[in-house]
């Protein structure tokens, strides 16, 4: 599993000159009529290769956008993001881009109430194609709290990560065999405990059985024919 946390990548370290990889636009859309109109939110810096990593360079929300976002939140609209489908393993710029976008959404009110703190995860498949993007806010709930301070809605506080599929475990035979051997050795050491139930308690069982048989035999000889008939009944 490769999970690289690059939190709080704001404008602070905007020097990405030595960055070796792709720059991909991250776009967002929040409209009152819910018809998607995507605008640039920032750019994702994807480092390609065996262990891909990602960082984000994003703009602040303008005054106009802030008011619009609050309006959209008031009518329970959606805040959508999208990234283009890219291939992270390719070397050349021409190869990585394929058609189409991957989209995800979160409720606009959650975006507002969390003061723009969102968690964006990019998912790749085995070979490094970007297959999905997800966004959640922290906290995720919409409680209808008014956000008074406009400053809170200025800067994104984004936690970004990229995730490749994990390898599912196969049946673990080796460990099991090891354990079995250990147990076997343990058993070999003290054969005392390996006795069966009968071996342990034979001294109680045998007299009991003998007693029962004896008493039965006496009874039969004493009871005679009548007793036998009775016995057959049950």
């Amino acid at each position: 599993m490769s999970r690289h946390w690059i939190g709080d990548t704001l404008a602070s370290d905007g020097l990405e000159a030595e960055f070796n990889g792709l720059s991909v636009p991250l776009e967002h859309s929040f409209e009152l009529d819910d018809v998607a109109k995507f605008q640039l939110r920032g750019s994702l810096m994807l480092k390609t290769g065996r262990e891909p990593s990602v960082s984000l360079n994003q703009n602040q929300l303008s005054e106009e956008d802030r008011t619009k976002l609050k309006e959209v939140a008031a009518v329970d609209g959606l805040y959508r993001i999208r990234v283009p489908r890219v291939f992270l393993q390719a070397d050349k710029q021409t190869e990585w881009q394929t058609e189409g976008h991957l989209t995800a959404f979160v409720r606009a009110c959650a975006m507002v109430e969390s003061h723009l703190s969102d968690v964006i995860t990019l998912h790749t498949d085995v070979s490094g194609y970007l297959i999905g993007v997800s966004i959640v806010t922290l906290p995720g709930a919409c409680r209808g709290i008014e956000v008074e301070d406009e400053v809170d809605l200025e800067v994104f506080n984004t936690t970004l990560s990229i995730m490749a599929p994990v390898n599912a475990p196969g049946p673990e035979t080796a460990l099991f065999i090891q354990r079995m051997e250990q147990e076997f050795e343990k058993k070999g050491k003290n054969p005392q405990e390996q006795k069966s139930f009968f071996a342990k308690y034979w001294m109680y069982i045998v007299p009991l059985v003998l007693f029962l048989m004896m008493s039965g035999a006496q009874d039969q000889s004493g009871g005679g024919g009548g007793g036998g008939g009775n016995g057959g009944g049950r």
């Binding site: 995800a104 998912h123 959640v136 709930a141 995730m163 599912a168 008493s215």
Partner: protein
């Protein structure tokens, strides 16, 4: 483990009381010895509580065996007294049925698909010869017990035709015609007598082989729209005796338009020239044209005429009489007489014709519709049944066309069945040397009806049930009295007096019902046991105490719907939907259950043509099978997706949403109330679409104007992997515990997301080192990928079960060459995020994912989870295994520690052994299981399981044993007698004590 131990202990205690009690009664040694044995036995038996006892066989379970749609049928005619009919079916089954009862005597199920396809079936005496798998194998079966005589693998080449070859009155060989060669085999051992290549096989399309028993085998081929090629081979050594070609520019296919009659006379019919053509195969000069007009016959417009001939004995020449079909309901019986064609009789109207031979006599059977007797049956339920239609079958002398006396048989068509498709006549000679017969009618709905004169139906087999596509189980309705009581609480309050009155009246009704029940019991007690055997009929259909009896609604590929009683397996209703496209997909949904008296329950069947996507709805009552008076909407657009919403309209019917290819949504039922509700709920209705050809998963949200908008999209590149299945959770499952108690008494909460989808992918690269199986867990509302895992070096077919907080999937490991199980469980952790309600939109934290894999020693065809959640039921090729979920638990530890022991975790073992008591169908083999359906019952411990495929099997399973039911061999007598005895003992001892006290006082 602990539970079992406890049980053993209880049992021993009970037995000890038993033992003491009996000791008082009779203190004989024999009894003592027996008791000790009994005691030991009891302890031994306690270990095997899972399994079925011998006397429980067939008590809770039943099995029905089917053969499939009949393709070839022969009556076993070598003995007059034979009771067998041999069938070769389109499901690749070869079987023998008992003609008296319709039961399967024996059955051979071959491979599915073209490999096991039965191409031809020839019957000679006691032997049945079959050509299987496009001429791959030639087999001979012994028909008495169904044993295999011999089997030979034939040379490659696509199969064309086969026939039996006789000489001097006895049949000794079988000829098989392939595209380029003809071979002759001995009937006795299958050995090849000779094989010859066909001349000019690259230009001539050889289609038919024929032998008339005179030492020659004729092979007929055609060069379409040019000429017929005739080649005659010698039976003895395969030498070509004659070879010629005759002009026939009008002919394209010999089997479709030609037959052989009389002495080597080929007769063909052509619709464009409206003529019959005859060709003498021995002379092979030219085709002799006989215009139909000269016989004063005319073909119906747009009808392709065809011929029916008959060869009673393969070692002798065929009859000189034959049928010519001129229209959908018109046949004429013609005779070929020394170069002339004579008309014997004109049958109009006639639906079906057939020849049959017994001894030396050959008869022709003709089915014709009776003067339409329209009887309209008014049903209790606002419904008019379609008019029942009757047909008559008559026998005619094949040589003269004269009708035989007293041979009329009336066949009443099932109004809920299909039209008759084929007649199979079993003729026999009566004592007075006249011909008697029975007939097996095949109808379009794959049903077989066996009828005796004068119209008595001996048995009916619904072979459509061999191809069940989907099913649902519906609770039976309450009885009238129960419903009355329920209704009392459902209605609005009217006031005190009327309420009291109502209560009294319903109590009175209950009393009345109880007395009636008692009377019935008393009345039945006088009858012999066998007659009382309750026959379930429509009238007394009602729910039983524990809701163990349900109505199984089954949808079959032929378009016939069935309602089956789950207790007995009896068919209670059937309904045939005509005009179902052959590649239709079905989706059955229960819109209204039986819980909403007096509204009848309602099921909706979505029938979708897989090619065009066009769909239609069939709405019906699942208890009676009647079409509902609700008219379903017409669906002019192809349908992409359908979903049931959890809210209901004012008549308690769940709302069905249909999304068409324009992403427009229509609702059914679409009343004003529903539309209003939909508008209110629109922003909370999400759905997803899967396009596996493009690897696209997309989520949509409903808008208030019932259009939709796309809100998320996940795209898996199709060049790497393809989506093979997407599994959601069942909407009706109940989760009993929110979490698991750990060894240290803390709680691990489950991640219970009802919108979670398990998406399984398989790699396109099938190389065993690079192939993989991918599993993704996606939230269906937000499109968020919760978990993504890859099982490397694995291959499909993958079977997935998704329930509660876990996903179990099974795959083939290419590295180790074995089947493996993997289980994923999701936990929220030690704290719940929002314990009151679950919302996909507000669940920011990623759940913990645990996964473990196991080796499974058998392959699996289908898997399903039981609905009482304790076990998962899996199946392998022939038997059904019920596998406790306890063994599939990713928290099984490597080493058993004190804590894990407290949690009842079984230490990890990589291999899952199949224990014999996990087989829920003991020794009842079930062929080709296609699906397993599970349904909960009224008892928490019990889950109903139906496995369907070629056979149907129903049973009950107890994933956690029968903790809420007394065993059915529970000894009520013993317990009550012990109690009574103790009671009397106390009374007597009390009395004795009193006497003793009194005596002491006197002293």
């Amino acid at each position: 483990m602990a539970a079992i131990c406890l049980k053993v202990k209880e049992k021993t205690e009970v037995t000890t009381t038993y033992f003491l009690f009996l000791r008082k009664r009779s203190q004989t040694a024999a009894a003592m010895a027996k008791l000790i044995l009994l005691l030991l036995k009891c302890i031994l038996f306690c270990g095997t509580v899972y399994a079925v006892f011998e006397d429980q066989v067939g008590k809770f379970d039943w099995r029905q065996q089917y053969v499939g749609k009949v393709r070839f049928c022969h009556f076993d005619g070598h003995m007059q007294s034979s009771k067998k009919v041999l069938l070769a079916t389109e499901s690749n089954v070869f079987a023998a049925l008992n003609t008296r009862t319709g039961e399967v005597l024996w059955r051979h199920v071959d491979k599915t698909g073209p490999e096991g396809n039965i191409d031809a079936f020839l019957q000679n005496g006691q032997d049945s010869v079959l050509v299987v798998g496009n001429g791959r194998v030639l087999r001979s079966w012994e028909t008495n017990i169904g044993g295999l005589n011999w089997e030979v693998v034939l040379d490659s080449g696509s199969f064309q035709s086969t026939c039996l070859v006789g000489q001097q009155g006895t049949v000794k060989n079988v000829a098989v015609l392939k595209k380029t060669a003809i071979s002759l085999h001995y009937l006795s051992n299958g050995h090849q007598k000779w094989i010859e290549n066909l001349p000019d096989s690259d230009t001539v399309d050889y289609q038919t082989v024929y032998s008339g028993g005179n030492g020659e085998v004729y092979v007929l081929g055609v060069v379409p729209h040019s000429h017929i090629a005739v080649v005659a081979f010698s039976v003895d050594d395969g030498e070509i005796l004659k070879q010629s070609s005759v002009e026939a520019p009008w002919l394209s296919s010999i089997p479709e338009s030609c037959q052989i009659v009389d002495q080597e006379m080929l007769i063909c019919v052509d619709s464009t020239t409206m003529s019959l053509y005859t060709l003498d195969l021995t002379l092979q000069l030219q085709m002799n044209q006989i215009p139909l007009q000269s016989l004063e016959l005319e073909v119906d417009p747009d009808f392709r005429p065809s011929l029916v001939s008959h060869q009673p004995n393969p070692a002798k020449q065929p009859l000189s009489e034959f049928f010519l079909q001129l229209g959908p309901d018109r046949y004429v019986l013609l005779q070929f007489n020394s170069g002339q064609i004579v008309m014997l009789r004109d049958f109009k109207p006639a639906l079906l014709v057939s020849f049959a031979t017994t001894g030396e006599k050959t008869v022709a059977a003709v089915m014709s519709p009776k003067n339409k007797t329209v009887s309209i049956v008014f049903n209790v339920l606002y419904y008019v049944a379609p008019a029942t239609q009757a047909s008559t079958i008559n026998l005619y002398n094949a040589e003269t066309g004269r009708r035989l006396l007293d041979t009329t048989l009336i066949f009443t068509m099932d109004p809920n069945g299909g039209k008759p498709e084929r007649l199979n006549i079993q003729a026999f000679l009566k004592k007075d040397d006249s011909v008697g017969y029975r007939v097996m009618v095949q109808t379009k709905d794959h049903a077989l009806t066996f009828i005796q004169q004068p119209g008595r139906v001996l048995w009916t087999r619904e072979e459509a049930l061999s191809d069940v596509l989907t099913m649902e189980m519906v609770d039976l309705p309450l009885t009238g009295t129960q419903a009355e009581l329920e209704g009392e609480f459902g209605k609005k309050t009217d006031g005190l007096m009327s309420m009291v009155f109502k209560r009294l009246s319903s109590q009175l009704i209950l009393l009345q019902a109880w007395i009636a029940h008692l009377w019935k019991l008393f009345y039945d007690a006088r009858k012999p046991r066998s007659q009382v055997k309750s026959d379930i009929s429509m009238e007394n259909l009602s729910r039983d105490e524990f809701n163990l009896q349900k109505m199984m609604v089954m949808v079959t590929a032929s378009g016939k719907l069935f309602g089956i009683d789950s207790k007995t397996g009896g068919i209670l209703w059937k309904h045939y939907l005509e005009n179902i496209p052959s590649n239709a997909g079905f989706k059955l949904m229960v819109q209204r259950t039986t819980a909403h008296f007096p509204h009848p329950p309602q099921c909706t069947l979505l029938i979708k043509d897989k090619d065009t996507g066009l769909a239609s709805l069939h709405v019906f009552n699942p208890i009676f099978g009647k079409m509902s008076h609700v008219t379903p909407p017409a669906l002019p657009q192809p349908i992409l997706q359908s979903l049931m919403l959890p809210f209901m309209d004012q008549d308690y019917a769940k709302v069905l949403l249909l999304i068409d290819d324009q992403y427009k949504v229509s609702a059914f039922p679409s009343t004003k109330y529903v539309l209003q509700q939909l508008q209110e709920m629109a922003p909370t209705i999400f759905f997803f679409l899967v396009d596996s050809s493009q690897g696209r998963l997309s989520g949509y949200r409903l808008r208030t104007d019932l259009s939709t908008e796309q809100i998320w999209e996940v795209i898996l590149p199709t060049e790497i992997q393809k989506i093979v299945s997407v599994k959601g959770k069942r909407p009706n499952e109940h989760v009993h515990s929110q979490g698991r108690v750990m060894g240290d008494r803390s709680v691990l909460y489950k991640y219970l997301n009802p919108n979670l989808l398990a998406v399984v992918t398989e790699s396109t690269d099938l190389h065993q080192e690079r192939s993989f199986v991918g599993i993704m867990l996606i939230d269906g509302v937000t499109g968020r990928i919760i978990h993504e895992a890859v099982q490397r070096k694995a291959r499909g077919p993958v079977h997935v079960v998704h329930s509660e907080n876990w996903v179990v999937y099974e795959y083939w490991s290419t590295k180790s060459r074995r089947n493996e199980f993997s289980v994923i469980e999701l936990y929220e952790g030690m704290e719940l995020y929002n314990s009151t309600a679950f919302s996909s939109l507000d669940r920011p934290l990623v759940p913990q994912v645990l996964q473990q894999s196991y080796i499974f020693p058998s392959s699996i065809s289908t898997m399903e989870a039981t609905l009482t959640e304790k076990g998962i039921t899996s199946r392998h090729l022939l038997r059904i295994v019920s596998l406790p979920k306890m063994f599939l638990d990713p928290r099984r530890p490597e080493m058993a520690s004190e804590q894990s022991r407290e949690e009842n975790l079984i230490p990890y073992a990589p291999e899952l052994m199949i224990r014999t008591e996990w087989f829920i169908n003991y020794n009842q083999t079930i062929s080709r299981v296609r699906g397993i359906y599970t349904a909960p019952s009224g008892l928490e411990s019990t889950c109903l399981v139906v496995a369907y495929g070629l056979d149907i099997y129903h049973t009950r399973v107890y994933p956690s044993k029968q903790f809420d039911v007394l065993k059915d061999d529970y000894d009520y007598m013993l317990i009550s007698s012990v109690l009574l005895a103790l009671f009397f003992a106390t009374m007597i001892s009390k009395r004795l004590a009193e006497v003793k006290l009194l005596n002491r006082a006197w002293r």
